[in-house]
Symmetry: C2
Subunit: 338 residues, 2 copies
Amino acid sequence: MAASIEDVARLAGVSIATVSRALRGLPDVATATRDRVLDAATELHYVASPFAARLASGRTATVGLVVPWVNRWFFAEVIDKVETALRTSGYDLLLYNLGDARGRGRFFEQLPMRKRVDAMLIASLVMDEQEFTALGALPYPVGLLGMRRPGFLSTCIDDVAGARTAVEHLLERGHRRIGLIGGDADDPMRYTPPLSRHDGYRDALAAAGIEADPQLEAVGYFTVEGGAEAAARLLALPHRPSAIFAESDEMAYGALRSIARAGLRVPEDVAVIGFDDHVLAELMDLSTIRQPVAAQALDITTRLLAAVADPDLVDTEAVTMPTELIVRATTGTFRPGG
Amino acid sequence: MAASIEDVARLAGVSIATVSRALRGLPDVATATRDRVLDAATELHYVASPFAARLASGRTATVGLVVPWVNRWFFAEVIDKVETALRTSGYDLLLYNLGDARGRGRFFEQLPMRKRVDAMLIASLVMDEQEFTALGALPYPVGLLGMRRPGFLSTCIDDVAGARTAVEHLLERGHRRIGLIGGDADDPMRYTPPLSRHDGYRDALAAAGIEADPQLEAVGYFTVEGGAEAAARLLALPHRPSAIFAESDEMAYGALRSIARAGLRVPEDVAVIGFDDHVLAELMDLSTIRQPVAAQALDITTRLLAAVADPDLVDTEAVTMPTELIVRATTGTFRPGG
DNA sequence: CTGTTAGCGCTTTCAA
DNA sequence: TTGAAAGCGCTAACAG
C-alpha cells in the first residue's frame, strides 16, 4: 500500500498540515522542518493522491484538449505542443477525441469534462450559439485554437487570407481556371478550415473578376485518398483546370498522385498548391501556405494557463498569426499560355 | 454552482446513497425510485464529481497511455485507436508524452501516473530490469504495445521477422549490397523498432551468406529529414548499395528524395523498401512491411480493460500480430544485373 | 511557524 | 429496498 500523508507526518514528527504545506512549497515553513518532511516523503516514496487533493482544493491541475481527430498531422502536432507546454507547467492533459459527428454531439450534450479540468482548449470547430453558450457557462476558462469568438481566449490564423494568397499566387502565374479541393460543406463535424478556406478561394476569384464555377469545386474530405478522387474528377472535366488549390497539403498529395496517373505533368499541365506546410510538403516539392502550428499551440496554452492562474485577468483578445506563401516546384515558373 | 448529489437526493426525496446506487445502475433499487432519481438528475444537469467518486471508490475510470512521441504517424494512430476504445468503455485517456530522453527519465523516476489511473499502457520502449520492476510494482495492470515481457500484458508484431522479410525480398530481387537506414543505437530514448529491425536486417544477410558491412548502415533517426541525409551518405559511398531497407516509411520517403536529387532512378539504380505501411506509402508507391496498428491498439486496450475488470484473470500471454510484405514500385520488377 | 479541525462530494458497509 | 454514517486522503481556514 502506498504511503499517505499521515505516514509522512508521523515519520517527520509533524502534523499533516505541515506536510501538505512543506510539500507544496508554501511559505511559512521553517527550513529545518521542510527538510525533515522532504526527507520523510522521499524515504516513503510519497506522492499526494491527486484525487484527494483535487477534491479538497477544487483545482484539478488538468487541462482538457478537444480535437476533432487525433491522427491528422495538424492535430497530432497540436497535441504534442500543448502536452509539452502543460507538462512544463505541471498540468496533466486530458485528451478528448471527437472522432465523428456523433462523438461531437455526445461531447456537447454531456460536456464530459465539465467537472474534471481547470480549463478547456478546443481546436478547429465551427460552433453554434448554443454550443458557445454551453462552453461559456463552464466555471473555468475556455480557449479556442483555430477559430475566434468574443469573450473567449483565441488564437488562430487568417484562413481566408491564406487561401486568398494561395489562389492569388495561381492567378499571378496566369491561371484563370482554378480548381478547388476542399471539405464537405455539409459535414456535420463542422470543422473550420473547409469553410474559411473556401471563402478565400471565392474572394480571390471574385477580386480577379472570375466567376466561380461550381464544377471546379470538388470535395476531398481532407484526406489523401479523398484528395486523389477529387482531383481525378476535376481532371475528367471537359475543360479541366490548369491549376488546383487544395485546402490541405494532404489532399494536395492525393491530387499529385491523380495528376501523375493521368499522365499529366506538374506544373506544366496542372499546377498545385496546398495549405499547411505539412512535414512532407518540402519532400513533395509542394507549394503551400505555411501556418505556424507550434506557435499557435504554445500561445493559446500559455494564455489559457495564465487565465487559470488569474481569472480576473483573462486576455480575450484574439491573436491572429501570420501565414506565409511557400513557392516550390508544383507551381513552378511555368505560365500557362506564356 | 453545479448540482451535487445532495441536491438530487432532496429533489427526488431519497437519500444520497440511493441516488448513488440509482445513477450507477446498481441492482436493488426500485424501478419507481430509480426513475425519480434519474428525472431529478436530468433536471438538475447533475454529473457526479469524478474526483469525489474516485477518492471514495478508489477507481479512477482513467487509463494512462505513455508514448515516446505523439506527432509520429504510428503513435498518432495508436492514440486515436486507444482513445476510441477507452471512450467506448467509459474510460478517460490520460496522455503522457515522453518527448525525449530527459522526459523519459523523469517519467520512470516519478511515475507521475502512479496514483491516477486504473491501468497503464506503454508503447514501444526498450526497458531495463529496473524499469520493469518499477512498473510491475504498480497496483494495477500494465500493458505493453510493441514489446513483450513475461508477466505483462503485451501485444506486438515480430519486428525482427518483418525486417527479415523486407531484406529477403530485396535479396530475392537479386540485390547483394543492401543499405540500411535505421535509428541511432545509442539513442537514450531506447525506442524498440531500431533494435529489432536492425537485427532482422543482419539476420537476413547472414542467412544469405552476406557479411554485414557497417558502412552500409546509416542512421536516419526515424524522421524524413534524417532518412534523406542517411540515404545521401549511402549514395556517396565509393561502392553504393543497389537497394536500401529503411526501418520506417518516413525515413524511406526521405531516401526517395535523396535518390531523386542524386539523379538516380528507383528501382533501377536503387531499390527501396520501408516499414509500417504509413498512410502515404501507397501514394509514394513505396514497397513496405505492413503492420496492423489499429488491431494491435484495440487488442491491448481490450485485454487491459478486461484485466482492470477482473485482476485475477489477467491474460499475460503475449499476442504477436502478423506483418505483411507489400510490394510496390520502389522494389519493382527490376533485377540488378538481370 | 505549526497544529487542530472541518469539510470537499462521493461510495460503501451496516442496519433497518 | 432504503437510509445513516463512516470514511477516502487531502486542503484550508483558524487558532495558537
